[in-house]
Symmetry: C2
Subunit: 410 residues, 2 copies
């Protein structure tokens, strides 16, 4: 088996705007970890013939296909039927799964409704892959050298069955030769500018694969070694490291908040946040990291100006004189929350996230960030493009980068 596969995601909700399909991203990342790669992803409607057609089509290109969604108990759950047709088999009740459904309902004191047992239907002769996170089990079907995995659609269940059953089986099929790869993460710089800076150092003339990938104010550069070009790969890593120098946030794909928490931890320092335009998004990014409570004390969402004054001691006059979106107020917010919360480091964000509220002097996208500890203060004025969500996300990235720059000189 060649270590590549395709994903078919089923569900009208993936195509009519109701649901964001996150499976391809999760699967691509998980497969990368075992040297496999995702060759294609297709999202198709709840339509048995479209599903069957997609399965057959995918098997013209690869030997392993993962089909997700449509294993539920209702009439729009058709993946199991399409898979049965593909394999030329029928559908049967899987008694252990049925028993489990009944037990779960009993343990929750919920009455069994008349649909719920359908979760336990499977394709005849399928290897049943139990699903510790949900009611519908996964299934594995083999026809000659073609391998079809049926997985539940809800992300938590998809991940559980993938981790428990599918990834281990893929490892048994064979591990790909992934070559070396290295990631650089940069916050606050543009893709084209970074690319030009690196090309000026001759990066483009080396034999290796380079991928740039940009989120709002977050850029990843991924270098992949090509077979027979080990020296080029080594040189490229050195070139990027030297060219980016102080602008390099990290050399991994970890969430920036995780890196910052690690840095703070290494310095035995605690953190507090003061957010205006980001309204809790920075705190939310930090507390998304398990264990953040060891380092992060908390923060103030100082959205209304009176909260900036009352909760984190920003002087009224400062707001009157410079406006709430100003370097001066950002400094006062960072210092204020640090003092109030007894934290070692305070970080603050104030800006115009739009779409309304911009002026000629202070347009939408203008953001001030500030970071302070006992003795030092760093501030930065930023000017972002994009919509409200992008401006808010980019602001948090730049604030986290500023924390890194503060902690760097230890």
């Amino acid at each position: 088996v060649k270590p590549t596969l395709e994903l078919i995601a089923t569900g009208n909700e993936l195509l009519n705007g109701s649901v964001l399909n996150r499976h391809a991203q999760w699967l691509g990342s998980a497969l990368g970890g075992i040297g496999w790669s995702l060759a294609r992803e297709s999202s198709i409607p709840d339509d048995e013939s479209a599903i069957l057609d997609a399965i057959r089509n995918a098997f013209t290109r690869v030997e392993v296909v993962i089909l997700t969604g449509g294993l539920g108990p209702t009439s729009d759950d058709l993946s199991r039927d399409a898979a049965a047709k593909w394999a030329g088999r029928g559908i049967e009740m899987h008694q252990p799964s049925r028993q489990r459904v009944i037990e779960i309902y009993a343990s929750r004191n919920k009455p069994l409704n008349n649909l719920v047992e359908n979760h336990a239907l499977v394709v005849e002769g399928a290897a049943v892959l139990d699903n510790r996170e949900g009611l519908a089990p996964g299934e594995y079907l083999q026809q000659g050298n073609r391998h079809l995995f049926l997985l539940p659609g809800p992300p938590r269940e998809f991940h559980a069955v993938m981790n428990d059953h599918v990834l281990p089986r893929l490892r048994q099929f064979g591990i790909g030769d992934a070559g070396r790869h290295h990631t650089f993460q940069i916050l606050g710089l543009g893709e084209s500018d970074v690319a030009a800076r690196l090309d000026a150092q001759g990066l483009g003339r080396l034999g290796l694969d380079i991928a740039y990938c940009a989120n709002p104010s977050q850029l990843f550069i991924r270098l992949h070694e090509r077979a027979g070009h080990a020296m080029d790969y080594d040189r490229a890593v050195s070139i990027v490291r030297a060219a980016l120098s102080d602008d390099l946030f990290s050399e991994d794909e970890r969430p920036p908040a995780l890196t910052i928490l690690g840095l703070l931890n290494a310095h035995h320092m605690t953190l507090a946040t003061a957010e205006s335009c980001t309204g809790g998004l920075l705190g939310s990014m930090i507390t998304a990291i398990p264990g953040s409570s060891a380092t992060f004390l908390g923060g103030v969402i100082a959205y209304h100006n009176k909260i900036k004054v009352a909760a984190i001691d920003v002087a009224d006059e400062l707001i009157l004189k410079h406006g709430a979106v100003s370097d001066e107020v950002a400094r006062a917010m960072a210092g204020g929350v640090r003092a109030r919360f007894g934290a070692d480091v305070g970080v603050a964000i104030t800006g115009v996230a739009g779409p309304g509220g911009g002026t000629k002097d202070k347009p939408v996208g203008l953001v001030h960030v500030a970071v302070s500890d006992r003795s030092r203060l760093l501030t930065q004025a930023l000017r972002f493009g994009g919509d409200r969500a992008m401006i808010r996300e980019a602001s948090c990235m730049c604030a986290l980068d500023l924390v890194r720059r503060l902690l760097r000189p230890l």
Copy 2:
């Protein structure tokens, strides 16, 4: 032209886990607004022959295809080449676009790097669709009754070119007969339980399309009228409304925070938040809504217990006696932030988001939410499954639902 189309998204980053592909969701929603539908989405790598193959394959099923990504200036941008091959044409420099690139760089005082003009390359004879948000324009190619749109990959640029050019052209091609549709939004209840409750009222026996779509603690029920079944559709809307009654959060797809801000606004009430385990996520959801500053004063991320005491006046003894994750502390947090911030309504969340920190009495997933105004207090103890992110998101949904329940009886 039949009002249905396919989307092909290109980019290795969509398949290796680097980037979350949001185009299908956005496009599906935008198409729904003009009576069109997205029939399929495929994500494929930066590989010219794979792109060409995907274009040809899609045109066996539909007459309109949108190809996104791969219009940038670097060597892995291959969509334009694949499209040129499909159309049997060459590539040319589009001088107005080139001039614009040069002017944008001049206005930003950025030196032109040697790649950047490549943004202005287009397929010979393509209708150029200008891109107000970026450097690479969109393109429109017609071959007989086949229509291919090339769009830039970055979401902001994709949306701009779609809104400015592609959606208007699709409208010209024809508007679909969408039939009536109605959405119900429910927070905090499970899909299967709601479905069983509605089926018990005979919903399943009516002639209409029903789709259930669940996020953590957020469920949408979408009813679609079938041609010739107007009465069934009307009855279905009444059945759902009556069966869900007080549990119905809204009858639209709007973000719950937007609904809550509207309710507060109608009552001339302001809001403040106190968050422990969600760490700012609730504030972030609220402030994601433009104009939230009229109603939302701010909040405290009371992550460490000492912040619960110092910043929102939770009594030390309460935490000692009942623990930070308790009904009592949730009440005190809601009342505390309300008083401190001078808000009309205070809402609080405290829980065990995991993966660590759970005990037998207070397992991972246990969350207490509380809402209070001048005279009333509502609390709820919740027990969620899922991972840290799901528990946090579900907690915020239930907190917003509790605000709705507080405001309802006015």
